[in-house]
């Protein structure tokens, strides 16, 4: 309850270059690369895309300690974990068995298995890093505004989604209280997956009852303030699509194509 409250809605339109771009441009630019990475199998291509995303974030986003932690600790650790896990679990029948790295009893780790694991880990890392380009430099309000202004998303849907976004912390708090109350009552005590399922099922009814009531109240409050009165509403903040957005998207797409064509041939 106490402590500083950061404002997830506050618009940050100044700062490194990514903040000055339209959220839709930041979503559109890496999208082809993200989709194609699902099919790309080789490590170098995925690594180059990972590097591009890191470069964009390092140059274009404000480097907070939290972002640094994600980029330089969490991400490498996650890639290593996925690689190691897949290398150990992949069926050796399907991999290149020419190089043996390690033998424990009858089990052998082949270099081919490590390669498969690493490729998957780096691909997943690259997809996440590309998504972060928009994710860490855009706030929800600007994305909704931009979608309403440029994609013709009905504002009734966009702003209702924003209001719903406000529910999240409230429900987190409510869930904590419900869990505490159920623990005090000694409900669904016990260990194991079945006890856990019945415990969570027990939280859902009170949580939903509270959520529906809250949503109804918010809807009445919005109606009372003329929400939905006209097909349009005044936008105080336009989120423009400018030449720099087009340039950013075009450059990103050209780079994507170039990487896909050139890197596998090296």
């Amino acid at each position: 309850m106490t402590g500083p409250i950061t404002n997830p809605y506050a618009a940050q339109r100044s700062g490194p270059f990514l903040y000055g771009l339209n959220p839709l441009a930041k979503l559109a630019a890496p999208l082809p690369a993200m989709l194609l990475l699902v099919f790309v199998r080789d490590i170098p291509t995925a690594l180059v895309f990972l590097a591009v995303a890191y470069a964009a974030l390092i140059v274009g986003a404000r480097m907070t300690w939290r972002l640094a932690l994600v980029l330089f600790v969490a991400m490498p650790a996650a890639i290593a974990l996925v690689a190691a896990g897949l290398a150990a679990w992949t069926d050796p029948v399907h991999v290149d068995r020419s190089v043996e790295l390690l033998t424990i009893g009858s089990w052998t780790l082949y270099a081919g298995a490590v390669e498969v694991g690493l490729a998957t880990g780096v691909r997943l890392g690259a997809i996440i890093a590309l998504a972060m380009v928009a994710g860490v430099t855009t706030n929800g309000v600007d994305l909704v505004r931009s979608s309403v202004q440029h994609l013709r998303v009905p504002y009734r849907i966009g702003y209702t989604a924003l209001a719903a976004f406000r529910f999240v912390p409230r429900f987190g708090h409510e869930l904590d209280v419900i869990r505490q109350a159920h623990r005090v009552r000694g409900a669904h005590a016990g260990r194991g997956p079945f006890a856990a399922v019945s415990r969570w099922w027990g939280y859902i009814v009170p949580l939903l009852a509270g959520a529906i009531r809250h949503a109804e109240r918010v809807a009445l409050a919005m109606d009372s303030r003329a929400f939905g009165a006209y097909p349009q509403r005044t936008e105080r903040h336009t989120v423009p699509l400018r030449r720099r957005d087009a340039v950013f998207v075009a450059l990103f797409w050209i780079a994507t194509a170039a990487i896909l064509i050139i890197v596998p041939r090296l």
Partner: protein, 583 residues
């Protein structure tokens, strides 16, 4: 419609004419026949017992009923010449601004400025006009300096002032407030009423106010409309005529009256010759000081022995904390607290927001972990005892009863606590039926707990806390966000349980509750106990109350310093009955 009533309708800016409202799927109307008018610039207080349809009426004034909430509306509601049943809510929003009870359920955007601009933007006003209105509205509630902040960073009172600003920004000539302070602490209530008093004083809005806290509302009210239990207009007239003239009828109807009025009615019964009933603390003080005490009155003192305090020299301790410190998220919430809850007492824990009251209550009842050896609950150390054993010693009632329901029927809800104690089946059956009877829930045994009425849910939550035989009941803000009638019902129940021997511990902001019910009061500030004494002496310590941001209950404020020594120490209505004051 007769010629006379249509003339009346033209006089009033708002005209409610024989309005009956029946919700879809219900047989009985929520409101049976309300008739009144509101003129421009007038402040009308709408009163009525619980269930009389006050909130239903509020929702129909801006057309939410029947447009958003489906219901059959009979009679006519005309606002500024518009029939609310035929005009869309969005069009009515320029005539009627609404402020609801829960400040959190009225927020849509992420900054104060965006929030206030939301309404004008929906009306498609030009940007310059939107900004002008937003600035004007925020300045009127004193929040302009914080326009860039997230509404979540405001206090409850601040968020409710923001909701008022949002209504003002629509520039609607009628403002409707539905229990605007029910979810606020005393400081928040004062903030909201400071804003409301200014709005009422400028006279550019008609105001319809639904409020149970009459002590705060009465100062700015021009006229009072009272609905009866069915939702028919029972009284309608200037505040003085209705509240002073029909006080006895209103009390019989179950309508809450200002505490000064209730106090004067009690004094009258005790033989004091108060002719004109007072409505405010100042009027009460003047009224009692102007007359002599009844002849029978000997120079007596009030409540010579603190009521309810066990006379025994060393009362048995039910729960004890020694050197209790609690740390949460690297923040120390409680510092080295010593406190003993005595068997059979009614103990109140009060203090400003964030002082650690709830944490203290949760630590005393084994809800949160505490350092080993710092708390003993009925002789048990909660860090070593099982939850099952602790629940035989103390029951905890959460603020929202729904949070603690775990079963699919009322019967199972009560049986759950006994099965947990591994009692035999026939004993479970017998005990559950006892509790069902005790709490008036026999007819509802097979119903899902969520389908009970609000009052029944509250009673069931108290029943589940006590079913395992716990001699101590702890309640966190039990009256918060409830209307007065429901709060009173719960408090009467607690009083009965206390009389039967159950120890009661409550955390609360409601100082009149403290004054009326608690034997002993503990004041918590900054994680420390700063006072622990009989309620009357805590409430008499003005310096302490001021220092900890608490407010004396209205009765205390009125009578402190009265020239009658037998009244000067009175803090609760119960002290004003015959035989106490007149002894």
């Amino acid at each position: 419609m007769t010629a006379a009533s249509s003339d009346d309708a033209r006089d009033g800016f708002v005209s409610v004419d024989r309005v009956a409202i029946t919700y879809e799927g219900e047989r009985d109307p929520a409101l049976a026949g309300a008739t009144f008018t509101v003129a421009r610039g007038e402040t009308v207080l709408l009163l009525g017992p619980s269930g009389s349809g006050k909130s239903t009426l509020a929702l129909s004034l801006n057309g939410l009923i029947p447009h958003a909430v489906h219901a059959r509306v009979e009679g006519a509601i005309i606002v500024d010449g518009l029939d609310t049943t035929r005009t869309p809510v969005s069009r009515l929003s320029t005539r009627v601004g609404m402020v609801f009870q829960d400040p959190d359920a009225q927020l849509v955007t992420g900054t104060l400025l965006d929030e206030v601009a939301f309404g004008p933007e929906n009306l498609c006003l030009p940007v310059s006009e939107v900004l002008a209105r937003a600035e004007d509205a925020l300045r009127r509630v004193g929040l302009w300096e914080r326009r860039r902040d997230n509404p979540d960073s405001l206090s409850g009172g601040g968020r409710q002032r923001l909701a008022i600003a949002c209504a003002l920004a629509l520039r609607s000539p009628l403002l409707v407030f539905d229990e605007p302070t029910a979810n606020l602490d005393p400081a928040g209530i004062e903030e909201v009423y400071a804003v409301l008093a200014e709005l009422a004083a400028t006279g550019d809005h008609a105001i319809v106010l639904i409020e149970h806290n009459l002590d705060a509302a009465i100062a700015l009210t021009d006229r009072v409309v009272v609905l009866d239990a069915d939702g028919r207009t029972f009284a309608d007239g200037p505040t003085d005529d209705v509240l002073r003239g029909q006080a006895d009828d209103l009390k019989a109807l179950g309508v809450w009256l200002p505490s000064s009025t209730l106090a004067a009615m009690r004094l009258r019964d005790a033989g004091w010759s108060i002719e004109r009933l007072p409505l405010t603390p100042a009027e009460l003080r003047t009224a009692v000081d102007a007359v002599e005490p009844p002849a029978a009155s000997a120079p007596a003192t009030v409540a010579a022995e603190p009521a309810g305090m066990p006379a025994a020299a060393a009362p048995e301790v039910a729960i004890e904390a020694r050197g209790l410190s609690v740390t949460r998220a690297r923040h120390r919430v409680l510092h080295d607290v010593d406190l003993a809850v005595r068997r059979g007492e009614f103990l109140a824990i009060v203090g400003p927001n964030g002082a650690g009251k709830t944490t203290l209550l949760q630590a005393l009842s084994g809800v949160i972990p505490v350092p080993r050896g710092t708390v003993r609950i009925g002789g048990l150390d909660p860090t070593r005892a099982s939850g099952r054993a602790v629940s035989r010693q103390v029951g905890f009632v959460f603020q929202n009863p729904e949070h603690q329901f775990v079963a699919h029927s009322v019967y199972e809800e009560l049986a759950h606590g006994l099965r947990r104690q591994r009692r035999p089946d026939d004993e479970i059956r017998r005990r559950v039926h006892e509790v069902l009877a005790r709490f008036g829930l026999e007819a509802r045994a097979g119903v899902h707990p969520f389908l009970l009425s609000g009052g029944q849910k509250r009673r069931l939550s108290v029943g589940t806390a006590l079913v395992a035989g716990a001699p101590v009941l702890c309640l966190d803000e039990p009256t918060f966000g409830q209307d007065r009638a429901r709060a009173d019902e719960l408090l009467r129940l607690l009083r009965e349980l206390n009389d039967e021997g159950t120890t009661i511990v409550v955390v609360t902001h409601d100082m009149q509750l403290v004054a009326e019910y608690a034997d002993r009061t503990v004041v918590v500030a900054d994680g420390r106990i700063v006072a622990d004494a009989a309620t009357a002496s805590v409430l008499a310590d003005e310096e302490l109350l001021a220092r900890t941001g608490l407010r004396p209950p209205p009765l205390r404020a009125a009578l402190a310093g009265s020239r009658h020594p037998q009244l000067a120490a009175v803090t609760r209505l119960a002290d004003l009955t015959r035989g106490r004051v007149v002894r």
